[in-house]
Amino acid sequence: MNKTASVAREPRPVANAPADSTESPALLPPVDVIEDAAGITLFADLPGVPKEKLDVHIDGELLIIEGEMGLEMPKDMEAVHVEVGLPRYRRVFTLSKELDPGRMSAELKHGVLKVHIHKAEHAKPRRIEVSG
């Protein structure tokens, strides 16, 4: 867990995501967040979610990832051992200002979501010349 002051630069998990009383309980998918000079890349594990049931959207400053599993279960099935007890995932991140939500791409392959958000041009690292 990263506890240094660098949190302002990364999308950080929101502890109190917008409270919606009708919201159904969901699993928190594990993610990796990697940043380079061009932008931020986020990987999320969403096994069982088909493309049609995945929803990645920006709401104000928030990046919201939601997905529902599309399992077709045989009838008269009886659960013997359950480690994944909910059929949906949800995770919310706060984006920082230097990211440009207008330039975002997302792809889903074998249950792994990859989201790439570019940095706004003005926020790309620049070296400041020191004179004197």
Partner: protein, 143 residues
């Protein structure tokens, strides 16, 4: 009582607490580790005709997943290779599993090792094993 390496790290403390609870409630953990928390996560269900196993294993190459059934013991193994970040990139969050995995579950012994179907879709591995004909419930005719 065990102690965490970093006593002031709240996350490490919670992790230790969780392991402690697991030990307290699962009286005899299997020699291959605790039943929960491994990769891939498993759901097992049973029907009168079959056993259905769902392994939540995203991001794998389906040709590199090994599924074996031997005497009612199903083993799922393979390796998950994560995309490596570029040298100059920084990693802010790292929660996803990477590396070799192997999970073993004991199923009932009435399963037919020749009637196994496995499919991999959307990161979900589904193994369906038929029960042996002799073991399936049958209505007995009364003469």
């Amino acid at each position: 009582m065990d102690f965490s390496l970093f006593p002031r790290d709240l996350v490490a403390e919670l992790d230790r607490l969780q392991r402690h609870m697991q030990q307290a409630f699962e009286f005899s953990p299997s020699i291959r580790g605790f039943a929960r928390g491994g990769f891939p996560a498993l759901n097992v269900a049973s029907t009168p005709q079959s056993a259905e196993i769902y392994a939540f294993a995203p991001g794998l190459d389906p040709t590199a997943i090994y599924v074996q059934l031997e005497r009612g013991v199903l083993s799922i193994s393979g390796e998950r290779k994560l995309e490596l970040p570029a040298a100059e990139a920084s990693v802010h969050v790292k929660e996803r599993f990477g590396g070799r995995f192997h999970r073993v579950i004991t199923l009932s012994d009435d399963l037919d090792p020749d009637a196994v179907r496995a499919s991999y879709r959307e990161g979900l591995l589904h193994v369906s094993i038929q029960r042996q004909q002799a073991a399936q419930p049958r209505r007995i005719q009364i003469n």
